[in-house]
């Protein structure tokens, strides 16, 4: 039961997010607005308990959810034909650059170990 309540809550927040995003023509998509709303709403136990029963399951299969869009690549193969080698090169190298710059920036900005600023490794109630 809590899991289905949690799922209903996620859908309600996504719907409110879509309404806000479209209604106010925000540049941020509805589900992201819903995520920000949930971040605030999690401070209440009535929201936290059902969501904690549903969110970890949904997130543990996040990869599954990308398969339908990804299969769409097949429809664009002819379109990509001429430039596939250049595109592959650009995508691979720029993704590595993005990864490297982000990870090195974070290492650079990281607080020295054993300061209160270091991340917690364990926290009670994590799902």
């Amino acid at each position: 039961m809590p899991a289905i309540q949690g799922f209903a809550l996620l859908l309600v927040l996504q719907s409110i997010g879509e309404l806000l995003s479209r209604g106010l023509s925000l540049p941020v998509p509805g589900p992201v607005v819903g995520m920000l709303l949930l971040l605030v709403a999690l401070n209440w136990r009535v929201v936290r308990e059902p969501v904690s029963a549903c969110a970890p399951f949904l997130l543990s299969h996040l990869s599954l959810l990308f398969i339908p869009v990804a299969v769409g690549i097949t429809s664009y193969l002819p379109l990509l034909g001429t430039y596939w080698l250049q595109l592959l090169g650009v995508i691979v190298v720029s993704t590595w650059i993005g990864l490297a710059v982000t990870v090195l920036a974070l290492r650079r900005f990281a607080p020295p170990p054993d300061t209160p600023d270091a991340p917690q490794t364990k926290e009670a109630g994590r799902g």
Partner: protein, 244 residues
Amino acid sequence: MANFVELWVYLAATPLFGLTATLSVYVLALAFYTRVDQAPWANPVLWAVVVISGGLLVAGVSYPVYFAGAQFVHFLLGPAVVALAWPLWQRREVVRRRWLRLLAASALGASAAIASSVVMGWALGLPPDILLSLVSKSVTAPVAMGIAEQIGGVPALAAVFAVLTGLVGAISAKYLYALLRIPTDAEGWLARGYALGTASHGIGAARALQVDEEAGAYAGLALGLQVVLQAVGVPLVFRWLAAA
């Protein structure tokens, strides 16, 4: 035999087919991925896509017919993005203390990825509409399509580039991190996950979640931030560039 063919034609056209194919191939791909100790090359999204695409081609089923069933899985992306608030909320203390550093790393990483893809693409002679479709490839596919539309790219291509970017990150990040000597302590997992979410959105975050819970949580944070940063920032920067 004629009956069997008729039955197949009927089944292949119902939504049941696309949904069953997506779930069962994913279950098999995931079992294989677990079997080989979650080796990056065995990425379940990659192999499920290869198998399903191959199957569609062989069986002569079109993508819209497949998607009629697969859309039920696709639909769950929305609530899953909302659910990303959960791992984030659990780490709210760390985020509250370090938001400025995290934000700076996000902005730096995104700028580096966008600038390098546009400059390289331009140098390799890609046409302008393809170049503009490359800009939003570090954000999750549905958002990438919206950004491409705003700056004059091709939305469908933007979605394809976003998926490829996600796969490249998910498959190669482990080796890149080893090369850069990023440790695997709490601080290292934070950086590894966060960078994957920044450069490779949801597909990267899915990989991070499978490898380490800590990395997954920060990947979720990074991809959410990336959506906000790019959805707001990229059209603004391009409008400014066009005016200059």
